[in-house]
């Protein structure tokens, strides 16, 4: 075969693969495995083939960070999240703070003003009351910082060995008080990709806090409420198409979701992605790509190019937005794909992972 023929043959195969991929991930396992909870392709298969089948409705089908509903003319956002992080206490935070911020952030990136939270605790027999107090206190202070009230809750206790200390679920209600509606499908070629600060701090902090690796680094979780930063961005930049917090699966997974929803290509400049040296170092040692590492206080925003300057300035002046920067742009082709210009000067695909390289980080 000549080089040209080889290239054509390869292209045919690749087009066939794209057709297969458009059908979405299949659910073929007979049991739940860890990747089903990791936010990647396996999670998506479970959601699409079990939960959407069972609960399917127009609101759920949006699959946003929060659901938007209208009650008597008022537009509300509702979201829920469960937290199973191990260890429960880690540099920069604990499971309680995470449980409040995680739900606050899902509301914030949906454009809502976070208002009320519920808290469900599942505790293991034998878990120290002192730790429950400590977790409750940190939830209270996180709620105060985010300007939300914890207005209802529930506690269940299971036998020793049937849970790992403490699991927390939080549900949040927010008010969509802006006329602005954001959907990932509104993203279009020419738009610009922003990230609100250095990525990967949380995931790597948790991994190191487990003490299994004998690696020490001066790192703390980035867990933080993002409502002030998202509000500042929306005030300054009406052309915000969509925002997503980069939790499980990291920035790469968020960008893939957006690329797919809008049928666009997202091109990331690897050299422009902010990553702390300690995170880069740990990722190099462990063979992990920081683009896939979870954050708990960072979000990605896709913004109309004319709004980038004003948006960035507003974000950088807002709490937890100081490190905001441009990391890439949106292109038309190839649709539903994330590409990276590598720092080395080459190019590659940034695909969604099947599972998460680091389980139980939130």
């Amino acid at each position: 075969m000549t080089i040209g023929q080889t290239r054509d043959a390869e292209q045919q195969v690749l087009l066939r693969i794209e057709r297969v991929r458009r059908r979405g991930p299949r659910l073929i396992e007979s049991h739940i495995t860890l990747p089903h909870g990791a936010g990647g392709k396996a999670s998506r298969a479970l959601v699409e083939h079990v939960f959407l089948d069972a609960f399917g409705n127009r609101v759920l089908a949006e699959l946003g960070d929060a659901a938007a509903v209208t009650v008597d003319g008022a537009r509300l956002a509702i979201t829920t999240d469960s937290f199973v992080v191990s260890p429960l206490f880690f540099p920069g935070g604990d499971i309680g703070e995470l449980a409040v911020n995680g739900t606050v952030n899902d509301l914030a990136v949906s454009g809502a003003r976070p208002l009320y939270l519920s808290v469900g605790l599942i505790l293991e027999e034998g878990f120290p009351i002192a730790d429950v107090r400590r977790i409750a206190a940190s939830m209270a202070s996180a709620a105060a910082q985010a300007g939300v009230q914890i207005v209802t809750g529930d506690t269940k206790v299971v036998q020793r060995g049937k849970a790992d200390g403490c699991y927390i679920n939080t549900t949040g209600v927010g008010w969509l008080d802006r006329p602005h509606r954001m959907v990932a499908s509104a993203v279009r070629p020419g738009d610009v990709v922003l990230v609100s600060g250095p990525i990967g701090d949380h995931g790597i902090t948790i991994l190191l806090a487990r003490g299994e690796l004998d690696i020490d680094a001066d790192l703390a979780s980035d867990t933080a409420p993002l409502h002030a930063a998202t509000a500042a961005l929306l005030d300054a930049a009406p052309g915000v198409r969509v925002m997503r917090d980069a939790t499980r699966g990291g920035v790469a997974t968020v960008l893939n979701e957006i690329a797919e929803a809008a049928q666009v290509a997202v091109v990331v400049d690897e050299a422009a992605v902010p990553v702390r040296p300690a995170v880069t170092g740990a990722c190099e040692l462990l063979g992990i790509d920081p683009l896939y590492v979870a954050c708990e206080g960072r979000f990605v925003a896709i913004v109309d190019p004319t709004d980038v300057e004003a948006g960035l300035a507003a974000l950088r002046a807002a709490p937890f937005g100081e490190g905001a920067t441009v990391i890439g742009e949106v292109r038309a082709d190839p649709p539903a794909l994330v590409l990276a210009r590598t720092a080395f000067g080459g190019t590659r695909i940034v695909d969604t992972l099947v599972g998460d390289p680091l389980p139980r980080i939130c």
Binding site: I3, Q11, L14, I32, K41, V267, P334, F344, G345, D351
Partner: protein
């Protein structure tokens, strides 16, 4: 970051790329095999092929530890892991490798106690902490990882630990390279030698490749500039009419290897008469087992291992991919029936597997990606 960024400098890469292009004879096509899966990963992760002329192709070799594990060995490991009281420990890469009845992940969901470790010493730590359980380490890899398995067995013996054993699947690189050289359907112009393996075995064992098979080999490091420089060194040998083993990775690889590591392997392990490689079939003298004197640490003797041989799935062409005869996309099931979510073959599992690397990082022709990302 120091010791990383200087090996990923785009300016140096452009300069090397120009020298590579200048060394290519017009109209001639070149194929170099990178033996090691770590190189495959680097090539795709950094988009290194963008720097090579279209006439230079990199062929992915058999040096991905996870990729060469046959289904039968996975089944055997799951059989051990499923016994009451056993804790199986494994590198994360192994978790998704399919056996005939599923992977470690599936067995774990079925109730087997399978834990991910980063080093065999972590497995030993688990054994110390669980004296009433049998802890087994799923040992995989080439000469790169064999010394740490051997050292762990020696440590276990020194400490008198009695509930620790190793399910030994260590393989050796030279027989695999020889199998490729003897394969009639492959045309290669040279080898990018496996740097990590060479830190242990050195460069001398490759000399037969230059001498008897008349193929140059450059032992290469794992940063993108290492690989680019190695391609340049291979082309330079062709231009000069030389055919030698050269060491690009001299900052880490001693010509004679690491005698301490080799001694440790030799003390604990010995060559098996033959071993089955996924996709490549049985290769004689190509794998290691635990020596009789350490039988107490050999899971194959501590447990009743079924030792069933399972044929590779018919549709899977991992063997051809591992030998470099087929590019990943040329396999019939690539990307359709066989994907990272539902791998049929091992090459689609590990991040060092040629198919997974190509699927995850490179799944578009270079031309289309460069058009899409043009500044």
């Amino acid at each position: 970051m120091r010791f990383v960024d200087e090996f990923r400098d785009a300016g140096t890469a452009r300069a090397l790329a120009a020298r590579i292009a200048a060394n290519c004879e017009p109209g001639r096509r070149y194929a170099f095999m990178e033996v090691c899966g770590g190189h495959t990963h680097t090539i795709y992760k950094h988009g290194l092929e963008d720097y090579l002329p279209e006439t230079v192709s990199l062929v992915h070799g058999p040096g991905c530890p996870v990729c060469v594990i046959p289904m039968g060995r996975v089944d055997d490991a799951i059989a051990i892991a499923s016994r009451p009281g056993v804790i199986m420990t494994s590198f994360g890469d192994m978790m998704r490798v399919p056996g005939s009845q599923g992977s470690f992940l599936d067995a774990k969901a079925d109730g087997a106690d399978i834990r991910m470790v980063y080093s065999p010493l972590d497995a030993l730590k688990i054994a110390r902490a669980n004296p009433d359980r049998q802890v087994v380490f799923m040992a995989i890899g080439f000469e790169t990882t064999a010394p740490s398995t051997a050292m762990t067995v020696l440590r276990a013996q020194a400490e008198g630990i009695q509930n620790f054993s190793v399910f030994c699947n260590h393989v050796t690189i030279i027989p695999a390279i020889r199998a490729i050289l003897d394969s009639p359907d492959l045309r290669l112009d040279g080898f990018i030698g496996p740097g990590h393996v060479s830190t242990v075995i050195g460069c001398r064992p490759y000399e037969f490749i230059a001498r008897h098979y008349a193929k140059p080999l450059v032992c290469a490091g794992f940063e993108p500039l290492d690989i680019l420089q190695s391609v340049h060194m291979l082309l330079q040998q062709l231009v000069d009419g030389r055919c030698e083993v050269e060491n690009q990775y001299a900052r880490v690889v001693p010509w004679d290897g690491n005698p301490l590591a080799l001694t440790a392997i030799d003390q604990v392990m010995t060559l098996r008469p033959h071993f089955e490689w996924r996709g490549l079939g049985f290769i004689s003298q190509s794998a290691l087992r635990v020596r009789d004197s350490y039988a107490a640490f050999d899971a194959e003797r501590v447990f009743d291992v079924p030792g069933v041989r399972v044929a590779d799935p018919k549709a899977c062409q991992c063997g051809e991919v591992l030998k470099g005869v087929l590019k990943p996309w040329e396999c019939k099931v690539f990307g359709t029936a066989c994907t990272p979510e539902t791998p049929i073959g091992t090459c689609m599992v590990s991040s060092e597997g040629a198919c997974a690397a190509y699927y995850n990082f490179g799944r578009f022709t270079r031309q289309r990606i460069s058009e899409a990302t043009a500044v």
